[in-house]
Amino acid sequence: MYPPDYRYTKDHEWISVSGSIGRVGVTDYAQQQLGDVVFVELPEVGRAVTQGQSCGTIESVKAVSELYSPVSGTVVETNTSVTAKPESVNGDPHGAWLMRIELSNPTELDSLLSSEQYAALVK
């Protein structure tokens, strides 16, 4: 269910790291809780983000929720195909990445949850 090579936050984001770049999205559990996602607002490319701080919003028909950055760093790309088709967050939550972040402090990854820990959290 939750890809074993991803890391997870208690706020239901995931990050998949390759080299110094991490792709960030929200989990299947998050999209189920949100319901139909209709709007995704992401930070501008080049913006510095801080671990645990709000950096965007995800809105479903019924609610607004914050997107928290799982790591600190700089936004190097946002996924315009997801902002154009927000429902892809529901359709493929672990594939529909929202942004790519260049990590400024990779040791922060150690504070994130493994897939087993996250699965236990949302069980």
């Binding site: 319901g35 139909d36 209709v38 709007f39 607002e41 919003t57 809105e59 479903s60 028909v61 019924k62 607004v64 429902e87």
Partner: protein, 350 residues
Amino acid sequence: MVPFAGWDMPVEYSGIVNEHMAVRTKAGLFDVSHMGEIELAGKDALAALQKIATNDVAKLAVGQAQYSALTTPEGTFVDDLIVYRQAGDHYLVVVNAGDIEAKYKWIVEHTRDAGDVAVVNSSSRYALLAVQGPAAKGIVQTLTSVDLGAIRYYWFAHGEVAGVRSIISRTGYTGEDGFEIFVPPQSADKVWTTILEAGADAGIVPVGLGARDTLRLEAGMHLSGQDIDATTTVLEADLEWIVGWKKGEFIGRSALEGQKAAGLRRKLVGFEMTAPGIARHGYAAYAPGGEGIVTSGTQTPFLKKAIGLAYLPIEANAIGSEFEIDIRGRRTPARVVPAKFYKRPRQEKS
């Protein structure tokens, strides 16, 4: 399930978007038994209703229904409601779920001097199911011998649905054709299940509170307690069409006359966002004539636009007027549009 006015109600069954689209294209089934039913009977029942409801109840024939409002002396809302004329001197009024007992007492209080009229809170005697959508009529017709085509919009008939005695009303809160069916609570499960089975091939789905809200907003219908309440008048809510000016005295009449003569300072309008962002209930609006407030807002599944209702200063109320809404600290442009965002396509007369 979420608590709603003392009831446990599902926000969604299969997803708000799926349910919303089913109602627009096929059919949806709603359990709206939380609505309140209050009956007024007696030879002065009409006079009593004329006093407490804004619309002209004398226009109702037996078998006809009417949208109306209960108002305060200031012309603001106690609630909106539908009045059904059941028989010559017998009316059924359907009010919203929030604190039905208080509304019942309010009606009793304000009809005490009206003469020969009995007021009864019958809410526990009725469950209410709504079948809405282009396929609604075909589905319900398979379960009743009543000729549904003969029931016009805002009329109703008595008859059996799925073998259960019912009031079948051609009304709804979605902007689609359809029926609201009043049944005894002990038979509600049976009617619910039978309608779902009868409509399975036509694609009927159960619909929760979430899509009920997006459907009614797309159709430009008001939500009591949110778009209209004790702080907003019937005229400000753009509901002058439910004010029976030609009838006599009713509670709030002189306040509404005064407001009409002086001219409105603000009015409820429809809007759509012109830049990315979704306005929600309670967000502040900034228009050339001053500040306003968003009372309802969402991204609508069918029109796929961010729309809403807002009270705006009268100077900013013209269709096409541009204004801004504060979406979590960012002023986002919006434009006034007709509040009936969605109009169902014309179907053959039936």
